[in-house]
């Protein structure tokens, strides 16, 4: 079986690269889960501050999501190739 370097080869490899790029989804999953766990712990310690804790947690989650989004953008660019 010989490899022919034509346009379909490029498409196949870019789709493979898009799949490998989404391995970066592990990072935000672990980080945001950890942050949510700490937020739940803080609510358990002081239940009347739940409003501020939720707001702070949401802002923190939105920041931590960034690297996952970078991977998603790279995956979209590669799929479009």
């Amino acid at each position: 079986m010989e490899i022919v370097f034509n346009a379909e080869f490029v498409t196949a490899l870019s789709l493979l690269g898009a799949g490998i790029a989404m391995i970066a989804g592990i990072g935000p999953g672990i980080g945001q889960g950890f942050a949510a766990g700490k937020a739940v712990e803080a609510v358990g310690r002081q239940p009347e501050a739940i409003g501020k804790i939720t707001t702070t947690m949401l802002v923190g989650q939105a920041m931590a999501e960034t690297t996952g989004l970078y991977a998603l953008i790279i995956a979209f660019v590669l799929i479009g190739q």
């Binding site: 949401l58 802002v59 939105a62 920041m63 999501e65 960034t66 989004l69 970078y70 998603l72 953008i73 979209f76």
Partner: protein
């Protein structure tokens, strides 16, 4: 004449058309509300939507004043402008428009605007010499790294908005096409659209506003000597 304008209008992409409509709508609403606030009588109590506007601006001003100290009046207008545009643009799909920020040029324009606002404010408020001294603040060896972080932080702000909005649009399209019947319509409008477009869109608008606030306050603060 009219058909060149119509030709131009229909040849733009959907996101650019939505952006122009959002900007126009926001300008008209803000001018009308501003004129109503102008005509208020300080003696009488306020009623109606003007009351909400005054309360909201008061809340925002006190929030910004916590970060900036004395000079908050210079910076509050542009921060509020960003917040209003982003809040209205990310929920534009409620009115049948495409979300403007799912287009990469608009998202990169936002990151360029953040970069320009931070740099120009830093140079005007601190003066060029002191600004360079701020950038090389612990040691001058860190100057390249500080410059790099000045570029990459606004870029990350713009790309965060783009990624969130684009993924919302793509997931909506995928879910709608996968279930080709009434369940597809229900799942898209009840589950995907409120969570991704409205929920994440408003959160990301708030995050952009907070990040711009913090970076701008860091670049114009007077260092305590």
């Amino acid at each position: 004449m009219l058909d060149t304008v119509l030709d131009f209008w229909t040849n733009l992409t959907a996101a650019l058309r939505a952006s122009i409509i959002v900007t126009l709508a926001l300008s008209i609403i803000v001018v009308i509300l501003g004129k109503r606030v102008d005509r208020l009588n300080p003696e009488k109590p306020i009623k109606g939507p003007v009351f909400l506007v005054v309360m909201g601006i008061d809340l925002l001003n006190s929030f910004i004043e916590d970060f900036y100290g004395k000079k908050w009046r210079t910076f509050a207008p542009i921060l509020l402008a960003f917040l209003l545009y982003l809040a209205l643009a990310n929920t534009a799909s409620l009115f049948g428009l495409a979300t403007p920020l799912s287009n990469v040029s608009i998202a990169l324009a936002f990151s360029f605007m953040a970069f320009a606002v931070i740099q120009i404010s830093g140079v005007i408020v601190r003066g060029p010499v002191k600004r360079i001294k701020d950038l090389s603040s612990p040691t001058p060896l860190l100057l390249p790294l500080n410059l790099l972080s000045e570029v990459s932080a606004p870029l990350a702000m713009g790309l965060r908005l783009f990624g969130n909005l684009l993924s919302g649009t793509v997931i909506g399209i995928v879910v709608f096409n996968l279930l080709n019947n009434v369940f597809g319509v229900l799942a898209t409008t009840i589950v995907v659209h409120p969570i991704f477009n409205i929920g994440f869109g408003l959160i990301q608008a708030f995050v952009y506003f907070m990040l711009l606030l913090v970076f701008l306050s860091m670049s114009v603060e007077e260092s305590e000597v």
